[in-house]
């Protein structure tokens, strides 16, 4: 019984982080139809934004968090305006550009901060016991932040004028233009939001594991598995996919072998592509 409770606590906390990791990735695909291979780079920018702000520049931790999120959001804007906007009708070119960007950011971080992992401040310190399992307050904070962000994103998209315009562009870019929506502006906003969300994910990951120049790689693969399982372009699907994969990973760690935990998302990715390629929720953001 204690094992089961432990399993649920660990899975729930891990899944919250995974949802945070994947949601920006699916948002960009849903709205712009772009498979953003630089998503891991945005995660890296968020984590190292905090590291440079706090550990190098000596800014207060809270300011460092804001700087990390802002840096990832600005990175998203630069990526869209500088590269993606000119190639929106050429998906292969976009994939190559985002992949090259991802490698370039890794190398930049490697050359400026070194290969050694660096510590990222935690959202909260200390720990407590829940259902017989030791839970860090930082993990709880990440879980809460994840759900606050998911809730805020749902509310923003469904109940604000700009959010509805994002939905409109995702369903029909021409239809959006016909009613006077500037789809370039909406795409830019989406890239900024997705970048900022990836930044939060980067800070969360870094605060748990420390950050290294390859911090963004695993989350990128994870994002692929989650959004393919949930339905590429579906925010709801990404949240559900994150929870399914989070629970599966913890199950493998706890009841099979911790060595196999990294393989679980890849197996899910392949199975999802073979059995239900449209994912659990299809593409709710798009026509």
């Amino acid at each position: 019984m204690a094992n089961i409770l432990q399993f649920f606590v660990q899975s729930t906390i891990r899944s919250g982080l995974y949802a945070l990791v994947a949601i920006g990735f699916t948002l960009i695909f849903g709205v712009g139809g772009v498979l953003n291979l630089a998503h891991g780079a945005s995660i890296l920018v968020g984590a190292y934004g905090v590291y440079f702000s706090v550990s190098v520049l000596g800014l207060p931790t809270a300011v460092g968090f804001l700087a990390g999120v802002a840096a990832a959001g600005v990175f998203g804007a630069i990526l869209y305006l500088g590269l993606i906007e000119q190639f929106t009708t050429e998906p292969i070119m976009v994939m190559i550009l985002t992949l090259v960007t991802s490698i370039a950011v890794e190398l930049l971080v490697l050359n400026t901060a070194g290969a050694q992992p660096v510590a990222i401040p935690q959202f909260a310190s200390g720990n407590f016991s829940l259902a017989g399992t030791n839970v860090q307050f930082n993990q709880l904070a990440i879980f809460v932040i994840s759900w606050v962000i998911i809730g805020a994103l749902f509310a923003f998209i469904n109940y604000t004028r700009t959010g509805k315009a994002i939905l409109a562009v995702s369903m029909s870019e021409k239809g959006a233009s016909l009613v006077g929506i500037d789809s370039h502006r909406i795409n830019l906003i989406t890239w900024v939001i997705a970048g900022a969300l990836a930044g939060v994910a980067g800070i969360a990951l870094g605060s748990q594991l420390a950050a290294s120049p390859v911090l963004g790689r695993t989350p990128l693969v994870l994002s692929f598995s989650i959004v393919v399982l949930g339905g590429i372009g579906s925010i709801r699907g990404s949240v559900v996919g994150a929870y399914l994969i989070g629970f599966l990973e913890v199950f493998v760690i706890q009841f099979v072998s911790s060595d196999l935990s990294g393989i679980a998302p890849l197996v899910v990715l392949v199975l999802a592509l073979l059995v239900k390629p449209e994912g659990l929720f299809g593409r709710e953001l798009a026509e």
Partner: protein
């Protein structure tokens, strides 16, 4: 009757839209050749012609979706190089052949987005629901679950939500059942009676003649006949080719 497109423009009326010597190409294929026409204030001007004649290309060029050579002026200002949303802002609204609805949204949400640049959503919405009661009955239905005819009504209704000064209707009757055609026809009459200027691109020549004040026949990207419906009804070529003799 005039067979010279240039001479068809009415010099005395207020011109809302003026198209002069417009050429459009898709790669090496020329879709429009030296097309010229004008649309007068409060009138319904129709461009008729067979499938592939260039009607949708002309509509897309006017509303900013297709680049062109030549001059297109709306209310005296060139639309050349302007993005579609900027043209919408100035009151020129395009209801496309493919409708481009927001399929996963309800009728209500589609209409609300139609007023994206306007505001006064509630007032406009009650007007269009009055015009198309069938949509009122389906206000919470997703657009992609509606019939083709209902989707066409929704596309026109969404265009009306923008409070258009000039409305381009591209093939509003394409593939519609006769009963829906009546609703669309009544809708266009109502739009016309509100004083909205309409450019109707239409394959259904009888439908166009029933609604238009002036008609231009487009074939292979060129305007080959222009005149009033009464004049064109007497044209042998039109009668034989488009009105079944």
């Amino acid at each position: 009757m005039s067979t010279d497109p240039q001479s068809s423009s009415t010099a005395t009326r207020d011109t809302v839209l003026s198209v002069s010597d417009v050429n459009v190409s898709y790669g090496k294929v020329q879709a429009l050749r030296d097309v010229s026409l004008s649309v007068g204030e409060g009138e319904v001007t129709s461009v008729i012609g067979p499938n592939g004649a260039g009607k949708s290309t002309l509509a897309n060029a006017i509303s900013g979706f297709k680049s062109f050579d030549g001059v297109i002026e709306y209310r005296g200002s060139s639309v050349h190089g302007r993005p579609p949303e900027s043209i919408v802002e100035s009151g020129l609204i395009h209801c496309t052949e493919s409708r481009n609805l927001f399929g996963f949204m309800t009728v209500d949400d589609n209409l609300e987005l139609g007023s994206y640049q306007r505001g006064d959503v509630a007032e406009r919405k009650s007007l269009v629901y009055e015009l198309f009661p069938r949509l009122d009955e389906r206000r919470n239905q997703r657009a992609n679950t509606m019939s083709g005819g209902e989707q066409q009504m929704l596309a026109i209704a969404r265009a009306l939500m923008s409070d258009p000064d000039l409305l381009i209707l591209d093939e509003p009757t394409l593939g519609l059942a006769p009963i829906i055609l009546e609703d669309i026809s009544d809708g266009i009459d109502a739009i016309q009676s509100e004083g909205v200027t309409v450019l109707l691109c239409e394959q259904n020549v009888t439908f166009a003649m029933d609604h238009a004040d002036e008609i231009h026949l487009l074939e292979n990207g060129e305007i080959v006949r222009s005149g009033s419906p009464a004049m064109l009804r007497d044209d042998d070529y039109i009668r034989e080719s488009y009105l079944g003799g």
